[in-house]
């Protein structure tokens, strides 16, 4: 059977150059980067080269990169790290209602611990109004954390403007760029950010490694205590194999950014056009233009997302859904809910995210298979009948 992977926002396969470098490294180098001897120094050298490459991807300098165990830890470190180090100055945090759970749940944790959190709304395309940020600022605001682009609907936020507002008010600004770095240009100086989260596995690097950019001069308490690695920002023996892979992935992502941007965008637009032509009662969630090039997010009325995902899976197509049933928590997507989407549409959402693995014929295949799947599921859906009535 054909196999079409349309879930690149969930994770990506290793780029062949990444896996081959990781393979070479893991067979030859094993020292602990903290060790004084040659084994340790050699491992450190590789790690520092990777750090430089990751820095290059976002216009930072190497000393500003703190390696973490992934995007989730980077988000936690940014938010808890600022909260721990600035709680004397204030206890108010501003974020949005469409952040990834790594940001959202960390903010909610702080809210239970005596912090106050403002969750800004979004418009029906998922865009945050910088004016709302400005209005939410208080004397005791210590942190603004707004994602660069949303992982479900691909909407790109006005980070540059929000960053300016934060800077004008002397408030630390964090952005979660897990979905944007390597996909659209990301420059920490253009974006006016102090902290920025990255994750390797979204850019054809390994899972379980990420980084937090920490602008020179910004203070942060660690959240993992111990040996004082990563200039005391993050204790724990470093995931050297993963870091080396991350470095290579960052290098390749920077190199191929323009080309992959156009390629995935063209395929994505073809997919959207095709679906609208072939399937009735469908909507595209998110913004039409201010959107990641590889993201498409549809809702098919009357169809439940998990059923759709599994039906696609039976045809070899991998996608994801914001339906409650597709998540272990049985909560439907908070992002789609924040757009004001009715539950019927939320539960019928399907995210298709394109990437390096996809070709033109992948899209043709999806357009061939999907209409029948939707029709079949609608054939026994009490909701779909309602719409027809």
């Amino acid at each position: 059977m054909r196999s079409v992977y349309l879930d690149h926002a969930a994770t990506t396969p290793l780029h062949p150059e990444v896996s081959s470098l990781m393979g070479e490294f893991m067979r030859e180098i094993f020292g602990n980067p903290s060790s004084l001897h040659s084994f340790g120094r050699e491992a450190r050298k590789w790690m520092e080269e990777a750090r430089q490459k990751v820095a290059n991807l976002i216009g930072a300098s190497a000393e500003e990169i703190v390696f973490t165990s992934g995007g989730t830890e980077a988000d936690n470190l940014a938010i808890l790290g600022v909260a721990l180090s600035r709680s004397e100055k204030g206890r108010h945090i501003i974020t949005s209602s469409i952040e990834h759970h790594a940001v959202l749940d960390t903010c909610k944790f702080l809210a239970k611990k005596g912090f106050e959190v403002t969750f800004l709304p979004v418009d029906r395309y998922g865009i945050i109004d910088p004016d709302d940020v400005r209005k939410a600022i208080r004397k005791d605001t210590i942190l603004i954390t707004i994602m660069h682009a949303n992982n479900e609907i691909g909407t790109i936020e006005p980070i540059e403007e929000i960053g300016k507002i934060a800077r004008d008010h002397g408030i630390i600004f964090h952005t979660d760029a897990v979905q944007t770095a390597g996909k659209i240009p990301v420059d920490v100086n253009t974006l006016n950010v102090d902290l920025l989260s990255l994750s390797a596995h979204k850019i054809y690097g390994p899972k379980g490694v990420g980084a937090l950019y920490v602008r020179k001069g910004v203070r942060l308490e660690p959240i993992l205590h111990g040996g004082g690695q990563e200039r005391k920002y993050r204790s724990g023996t470093e995931n050297t194999i993963g870091i080396v892979g991350f470095g290579k992935a960052a290098e390749i992502a920077a190199r191929d950014l323009d080309q992959e941007f156009s390629r995935t965008k063209r395929l994505r637009d073809k997919l959207i056009r095709g679906i609208f032509e072939k399937i009735p009662d469908v909507r595209l969630n998110g913004h039409l233009k201010q959107r990641l090039p590889h993201n498409a997010n549809f809702s098919f009325f009357g169809v439940e997302g998990e059923s759709l995902i599994l039906s696609l899976d039976l045809q070899g197509i991998a996608a994801s859904s914001g339906s409650a049933c597709s998540s272990r928590s049985l909560q439907p997507s908070h992002v789609l809910a924040a757009l004001g989407l009715p539950y019927e549409w939320i539960h019928g959402s399907v995210r298709m995210t394109l990437g390096r693995t996809n070709t033109e014929s992948d899209i043709d295949y999806v357009l061939e298979v999907l209409p029948d799947i939707v029709a079949r599921l609608r054939s026994f859906s009490p909701l779909a009948r309602k719409l027809q009535a």
């Binding site: 439940e304 059923s307 539950y343 054939s379 026994f380 009490p382």
Partner: protein
């Protein structure tokens, strides 16, 4: 995640559709939690001559709808009332823990359909 049996019933659900002249109809679930399941029954001489279901729901919902109709069809009302969520889950070779409650709705819908029929019967008789 799902057992072989669940996937078999999901791929090829039995008894889907409506019964236009149903003796009873039962619906459970709601659109907020994302699973809706409706069961139609046709009763003759205290026997479920026909049982059908419609669902807006996940694979577990589809499979439990399918399995419930299979288990209920041809049974007497009393037998059908013995069918519980547990019976259905077991017949399906088990359901993932987090799916046991909200997606395994069909037994409840069947009971509601039977109640609906009893209700109508009572009215007809009286």
């Amino acid at each position: 995640m799902y057992s072989e049996k669940v996937m078999a019933h999901f791929r090829n659900p039995q008894n889907v559709g409506e019964i236009p002249d149903a003796s009873g109809v039962g619906e459970v679930g709601n659109v907020i939690c994302g699973d809706i399941l409706r069961v139609y029954i046709k009763v003759r001489d205290n026997v479920l001559e026909d049982v059908k279901f419609m669902t807006f729901g996940c694979a577990a919902a589809v499979a439990s709808g399918s399995m419930t109709t299979v288990l209920a069809k041809g049974r007497t009302i009393e037998e059908a009332l013995q069918i519980t969520k547990k019976t259905v889950a077991e017949a399906l070779g088990g359901l993932p823990p987090h799916k046991r409650h909200c997606s395994n709705l069909a037994a409840d819908a069947l009971r509601k359909a039977i109640e609906d029929w009893k209700h109508k019967e009572a009215r007809t008789v009286s």
